[in-house]
Symmetry: C2
Subunit: 248 residues, 2 copies
Amino acid sequence: MTQAPLDTEPDDSGPPTCFSCPNRERTEWCVLTEAETKFLVGRKKSRRYLPGETIYRQGDPCNGIYCVESDMVGIRRNDPDGNSILLGIAYEGTILGYRSYLADEEHRCSAEALKACTLCFIDAATLRQLLQGNPDLGLQFLKRTARALGQAEDKFFQSVTLTIRTRFAHLLLVMKDRYGQEHDDGGLVMELPLSRQDLASMIGVRPESMSRLIRRFEDEGIAFFSGRRVHVPRLHILMDEIQSADLA
Amino acid sequence: MTQAPLDTEPDDSGPPTCFSCPNRERTEWCVLTEAETKFLVGRKKSRRYLPGETIYRQGDPCNGIYCVESDMVGIRRNDPDGNSILLGIAYEGTILGYRSYLADEEHRCSAEALKACTLCFIDAATLRQLLQGNPDLGLQFLKRTARALGQAEDKFFQSVTLTIRTRFAHLLLVMKDRYGQEHDDGGLVMELPLSRQDLASMIGVRPESMSRLIRRFEDEGIAFFSGRRVHVPRLHILMDEIQSADLA
DNA sequence: CGCCAGGTTGATTTCGCTCAAGCAATGTGG
DNA sequence: CCACATTGCTTGAGCGAAATCAACCTGGCG
């Protein structure tokens, strides 16, 4: 469950050397010197995960951080009675588990591969050395963490002030940035990477409520859903959904 | 609105020199060298605020950070239609506005003195110099930010999974740590520093609901409220309120 | 004295949850 | 290849929690 040697692609197979990593510029690592990067390459461990596979589990001690090399990872949190909510999605070029590492706590969330994906693991000792050696790296993390904090506060604020309808509209608009294909006629099509259940949990509602919500959106011509495909005929109507709530 | 010279206590009046600050050990500044602290003392501006006075306003550009020297500051966020919710309270020895500074954004919240209190302002340029000069300071901020992020995620999670009732019990228990006076008989008395409206906004409900909630707690013998004074006859009953919710 | 903000209370409505059933797609074993 | 379980999603009926609307009370203050 934690390590499956057969799945592991050996490091010397080429690509995953940080230098050639296509995400390099987007990650915190971009401030590292060549020597530091070389050090990192020598210490990190790349590994491939299957869809649905757990990367780390809520409550585990945090032994290091992960860097998403390709595809997407879901961040989940479980409550004691077993149902999980999806707190966010991490894409290639983002770092995972840094909050627990930095706060010096155990993991508060689980991370799970949403598709087949490959991650690099950087153990705590290595990271500590890098942070100590290059202050800019710390500042990079600081910025990322501060941004994440702002988003988390937003989420709380929205959860107590907005209706689920508006929250869903928000979610769709966020998804649009990554999955949306806009057409000239103001229409939008996207293929969501999530099940209904996960969609529901992201805005904090029961799956049944999500179903009904989708139904209402369709009845009102705001958006049409078939499987994971979404069609929004007129984007501005979806936008209005948010505006009207803000002013109401 | 931003600076009122008449209220400003001159720095040379004694106390506020960081060296003698009773909060020193609790703040991020404790990692500064003597020279750096001296630099900080020379650059910071201490100022007194009246109860209810605004320290900075949501949407303002972030020109620096504030360090709470004494008493308490409320962190509020307003939605477009004017009602505000209280996101948290900052006490002496904590730093304010660092999120916006670090994320390089404008303030997302307003800060308002809940009592008469005095804060030190450290302008962005000074802070930048300190951060650049002493990597440990950045790591201090990093830890604090990471912790705050964890708390914010908790808050969101709780707002969607717990009932109002449980959230209120949580809030009371948090308040207990600072304001509670426990008696031998298992009882607890505290003087809350907040109006009903603010209490309500902290758990994301309308004031009317807060009234009813309080009523229910009294009817059930869980806690008794008179003005801002709260009496909890048996603490463990309040605790149970949280337990039962977690297991339910 | 009258005003006003903050707080309480009641009546009503709305929203989202629970429980329960049904359905389609997928998988499994014979 | 078919009967059968399983899983994810949808739908309906009923319920309960919290919001809304509205009235009223209270204490502070001009």
